[in-house]
Amino acid sequence: MKPFVAVLTSLLLSSAMISAQSFKVKAKGEQTFNFEDKMGRNQVVFSSTTPLEDFTGTANEISGKVSFDIANFAKTLKGKLTVKVESINTGIELRNHHMKSDSWLDAADYPEMTFEIKSVSDVKQIADNKLAFKVKGNFKLHGVTKEVVADAQAIYLDENDQTQKRAPGDLLGVQASFQVQLSDYDIDNAIIGSKVSQNIPVHINIVGSNKL
């Protein structure tokens, strides 16, 4: 009898923990968030560090949608984000031009980078409206698709006076970070390693609304 009680208790505890790892907010059911931001505040930030030169760049033309069930974030999260290569800015016009040329990202032939969510794991409840998790997805860059795992955090804000100043509806803020190895995406250039690093850390800060 005792082992049965122990198993039952652990099952109940684990199911309680799983259900706890989702947003505790006013909204219920499936929610879809649109990340299109005409103000260009959503951004992807990337950086390169080499002995000769360090630089940071941004890309602001982001679009896409994600959806999930409030009651089961980890198992229901799906969606796709798209970033226009043309929106990359490194602060130097000539470098921007080089980055978008066929020697680097080839914006003419591959105008978009995409991230398509495949699965979510290691969900941790940081606050009632804040989750930390790992998200596995297909990242497509320069026409090549590779699976990456990003460390992510999501904050769910119920609609209020403050959120309405940003956008109508509930807001979902997402931060995610992952590494891009340029050679994995068939990006090869003589200055990789000396002026541009092979490994590029990518950081995403985006806010979506469920009423856009």
Partner: protein, 91 residues
Amino acid sequence: MNKKQKTVLVTGSIVVVASLIVWLAYGGEIFTKTQVLVEKKDELFGWTDKQWVNKFVWGLDLSLLISAITAVISAALLFIFRSKKKPSELS
């Protein structure tokens, strides 16, 4: 080297050194920039965003360009101001 040539040499050197001092004063960046990234806190979500703001940053490329132009002009002036010996002094 005559007086005019010395003046050209000193002036050229001052321009080159000044351009390097200005470069260092702007932070010693390799490339000249007209935009820089600044961090801005997002009060709603509590994280930090990066924003481009228009700001001129003098780079080493600009200093090298100025130094190169100065060197060419100085060389030309040194040639123009060279001492021309009179025919009587030639023999």
